[in-house]
Symmetry: C2
Subunit: 202 residues, 2 copies
């Protein structure tokens, strides 16, 4: 049993060394270090594959726009569980801004119930949708703020690949209504580190 643990530890330790080595190399290339490796895999046509492992990224917040509060047709039905990749989150903690390579994932879930022993409310059911936004100065040089938006759909089974949405369908709203293209006001975990980082910089 000890041997199995040790093997895993050695593998993970090795991977850590390798990734730290790579990070050291790429960091010297730009003021804002880009994401190591590919957090999101791109197809040749510019569409993306579903990101993996994001449920272990840093949770930012979970708005709910229930269908029954939006005449049966919410734009983003219904809970939006929102995550940022951990390294980009660490960058926000340090610098108070979004680095090149930042990935934000919004996973949608249904409203599973409206009454539980804890009271009346909205309670998450199953997973229903997946959306991704990526900031990339090279790839999305022409997008406002260099942010691009992708949707794998709002209904299961999800699409396996997602093409970039047109500027008008996502980016223009984020540009006009959000702060630096991210709705950080409704993501308390993100808002908290932004506020702390900016306070420290003063």
């Amino acid at each position: 049993m000890n041997r199995r643990w040790l093997m895993w530890a050695a593998l993970i330790g090795g991977a850590f060394i390798a990734s730290a080595w790579t990070a050291g190399e790429s960091e010297s290339l730009a003021r804002q270090p880009a994401a190591k490796g590919s957090l999101v895999e791109f197809n040749e046509d510019g569409s993306i594959k579903q990101p993996a492992g994001f449920r272990k990224w840093v949770f930012l917040g979970a708005p709910v726009t229930p269908n029954d509060m939006n005449e049966g047709e919410a734009s983003f039905p219904e809970f939006h569980n929102t995550y940022m990749d951990p390294e980009s989150f660490a960058y926000v903690e340090q610098h108070g801004e979004y680095r090149d390579g930042t990935v934000i994932v919004k996973e949608l879930t249904s409203v599973g119930s409206k009454v539980q022993p804890s009271g009346n409310g909205y309670f998450q059911g199953g997973f229903t949708g997946l959306e991704v936004s990526i900031k990339d100065g090279k790839r999305f040089a022409e997008e406002p703020g260099n942010w691009a938006y992708f949707s794998f759909g709002h209904k299961y089974p999800l699409k396996t690949g997602a093409s970039r949405n047109k500027v008008a369908s996502c980016n223009s709203c984020h540009d006009q209504n959000a702060t630096n293209f991210v709705f950080s006001d409704v993501y308390p975990v993100l808002k908290d580190v932004l506020t702390k980082a900016r306070t420290e910089q003063r």
Copy 2:
């Protein structure tokens, strides 16, 4: 630069191996490996200090029981952002059950707004409360399921220490209404790994 990175990586990798080795040793002592180190710090009187770093643990789900849907007095006002420590989550992924030492944190946030560009709904405001549940067969041998429940309050500033709640105030409801003491039905991220682990075991 690369050399310094490598040195750090090697040091950290080495420490990881060492800690994994230690964990491996303790694992042989019990069927369910206990949490390494202290995820939550206990005071001498059995109360606990506020856990640190839980916003980077694994997010499980975020029910909302708004005051305005509960006659102004929700039991848990209002959003409950719920997390599990990463090692115990990995144990659930593998075994489909909660190991000794599992810590679940429920962080409460206010409803900050009910209208945003994404539609009508409930949107998280600031942090308002903090609750913790811990499964510990030694420390909480007499508690149903060995789960104990602690609250740092539902209003800021939070208490710096929290005593264990009486069985009747939390545990009896979890015992009667939840599955294995955890309301996994409303935590899709947890429900998903539980379902997968149990399917694989068949």
